[in-house]
């Protein structure tokens, strides 16, 4: 096997992986604050992409205006989802909550299709297609920019967690009841975490849409996002970042090794295998908190 080719696909895989971790960060943020595994994150990404396009095409706004408008809209949608659907389910068995997020997934995905139709359309960000060579290695420019934005988002989140509101969120994620008893409004914190992850979904949507266009397949990022989130530990944002790189590299290498053997499309299998192995070997992920169950 050509070593250079391996290295190249590992690096590009790592960059793609950082873009996966953008999706995963949204899941982690919500799980951290309210222990709700958000299986609707994939369709939130898809919805966000459509909202950006709607502002761009419907209002004729340029993309740099449409994106902030979409971020504001998604912020409100995130708050709305929490208020209407999830708040009443607090304290219910996990099966109800999972089913709720699955129902939301179907609703958001099909709802976006109903309003805007299923035909794929491009989202031109103006990233040039010129090859970017780092030494002898060919790097995909769109992936590189996506990865840079993912790291930037991580830094922003890390800074945010040092502000007053961020400390509130950390307190809620640390202990729900204790936060309540010192007068923190847990509901508002949870709503904020939903809003923030809807905003992150918008960022992820713009980047992914520029790579693969806007259509229903954006919702399939859910599997990648969940895998990355679990691998990194469901309550660790930094873990999501590192796990994203890890999953991307493994995917990149595996697709070189496996694709000729099985006739392509081995990435999904790699995702599923990574998810199963993580759960069986180390359920709390690489950096997650190891919960002790009280009997």
């Amino acid at each position: 096997m050509d070593l250079l080719l391996m290295l190249e696909s590992a690096i590009n895989g790592g960059l793609v992986g950082l873009m996966y971790s953008l999706v995963a960060m949204g899941i982690v943020l919500i799980y951290k604050s309210s222990s709700v595994p958000n299986l609707a994150q994939g369709s939130m990404v898809m919805l966000a992409a459509y909202v950006v396009l709607a502002f761009a095409a419907g209002l004729g706004a340029p993309l740099w205006v449409a994106i902030p408008l979409a971020i504001i809209t998604m912020f409100c949608i995130g708050v709305g989802i929490e208020r209407v659907a999830l708040r009443r389910l607090a304290g219910r068995p996990i099966i109800m909550i999972l089913m709720m997020t699955l129902g939301l997934e179907i609703f958001l995905r099909a709802g976006a299709m109903t309003i805007w139709g299923g035909t794929a359309r491009p989202m031109p960000l103006g990233i040039s297609d010129d090859p970017l060579f780092v030494g002898p290695l060919l790097i995909n420019r769109a992936y590189a920019i996506g990865a840079a934005v993912a790291v930037a988002m991580f830094v922003l989140l890390a800074l945010f967690f040092r502000t007053r509101m961020g400390v509130v969120l950390r307190a809620i994620s640390d202990d729900y009841t204790a936060a309540w008893s010192v007068g923190i409004s847990v509901e508002r914190g949870v709503a904020l975490s939903w809003a923030l992850s809807a905003v992150i979904a918008t960022v992820a949507a713009v980047l992914w849409a520029s790579v693969q266009g806007v259509d229903q397949s954006l919702a399939l990022l859910l599997l990648k996002g969940v895998t990355v989130a679990v691998l990194g530990g469901l309550d660790s944002i930094g873990g999501a970042l590192l796990a994203g790189i890890l999953l991307g590299v493994v995917e990149g290498l595996a697709s070189i090794v496996l694709d000729p053997l099985v006739g392509g499309a081995s990435r999904e299998l790699v995702d599923a295998a990574m998810l199963i192995l993580t759960i069986l070997l180390r359920p709390h992920g690489l950096f997650g908190r190891h919960d002790i169950e009280r009997v």
Binding site: M99, I106, T114, I279
Partner: protein
């Protein structure tokens, strides 16, 4: 009113253990059975084969999922994959010349064996992580089925299922296929009804409520989780094979994709966890809803004189289906089965509504 308890005295253990102690229930069951058996006589063949038949088979499948989800309390987001395994193994067995009855049992056994693989995930983790690992297994199974030519006959391939024969009788008429589905559905229903009052059923409920507590009172939760997964996978496998044999007549990987798993889950949730009659309601509701919605939407558009694009019409029922799941979870988390139970309880003490049962 209907459901009178007055005058029912259990004077023997048999009477006390009866499946339906209240006469009204018995009469209703008999009435429904007569209606079901006579259905080919009074029902349009189109309705019989395209609504009644899939409803019955899906009810059997939903009952199998309810066993694992509602009774044993273990997640299963890969139920459709297990059904698919049953379907494929039955079709392959049939094509190799095995009689259909034996192919069905073979389908159930292969599905149960694979189902135990799911169970090993359940023995290690629970709750959310179990849900995610079964979801991942569903993706892995999907991938395996569609990418291994020996199973699916190549990518994008459709495998024709041979016509079914029972005990040497070829079954080709709509009524015959309907009776096969009815028989399977009744068999699973009777099994589930009786499961509630066996040691196995009670052990499963104990594991659901708290596995440690179950272990303390001497229920081996390890063993019963395994049994629950194997049993429900057996039902899933046979249901998948019956679905292919009587309804689809051909098998493709898309018939058992992750969306179908979520659909089965929606049947159980909308019907009601741990409710047998709820599984009937849930399966019927989820299967008939898209068609009913389409009719309703076209009626609305005709009534108010506006027209919707083809794409909107194609996706709107799906969106409403998602909204219904959300709505049920918010308004009646225990589903249609609980609504039926509420009505029945109300009638039981009518007109003395203030009597607490």
């Amino acid at each position: 009113m209907l459901f009178r308890r007055a005058g029912i005295f259990h004077t023997s253990y048999e009477a006390d253990r009866a499946l339906f102690p209240i006469p009204a229930d018995r009469w209703m069951i008999i009435g429904l059975l007569v209606l079901a058996v006579a259905a080919p006589l009074y029902m349009n063949p189109l309705y019989l084969s395209s609504y009644m038949l899939p409803w019955l088979v899906w009810t059997a499948a939903a009952l199998g999922l309810n066993l694992i989800l509602g009774w044993a309390g273990q997640f299963h987001l890969g139920y459709a994959a297990v059904m698919g395994i049953g379907a494929y193994s039955a079709v392959h067995a049939q094509r190799a010349g095995v009689p259909w009855e034996i192919a069905l049992i073979f389908a159930g056994i292969t599905a149960a064996v694979i189902g135990i693989v799911f169970a090993f995930a359940a023995l290690r983790v629970k709750g959310l992580y179990l849900a995610l690992s079964t979801l991942a297994l569903q993706f892995a199974m999907d991938w395996t089925i569609s990418h291994v030519p020996a199973i699916s006959g190549g990518t994008q391939a459709t495998l024709q299922a041979p016509d079914i024969r029972l005990l040497g009788w070829p079954i080709t008429t709509d009524a015959g296929l309907y009776y096969v589905a009815l028989a399977w559905c009744l068999l699973v229903t009777i099994f589930m009804l009786n499961l509630r009052r066996t040691a196995l059923g009670r052990a499963l409920v104990a594991v659901r409520e708290k596995d440690y507590a179950a272990a303390v009172i001497g229920v081996n939760s390890f063993y019963y989780k395994l049994v629950a997964f194997a049993t429900s996978s057996f039902i899933a496998g046979v249901s998948g094979a019956v679905l292919i044999g009587t309804f689809y007549h051909a098998v493709t990987p898309e018939q058992f994709s992750v969306d179908v798993s979520i659909q089965a889950l929606a049947m159980v949730i909308v019907g009601g966890l741990g409710s047998i009659i709820g599984s009937y309601f849930g399966a019927g509701f989820i299967l008939l809803m898209p068609g009913a919605m389409n009719t309703f939407i076209s009626w609305l558009t005709g009534q108010f004189g506006f027209s919707l694009s083809v794409e909107t019409l194609a996706h709107l029922p799906h969106a409403l289906y998602g909204a219904l799941i959300v709505g049920f979870l918010l308004i009646e988390p225990l589903g249609l089965g609980k609504i039926y139970g509420n009505i029945r309880d109300y009638l039981m003490v009518w007109p003395f509504g203030y009597v607490k049962k």
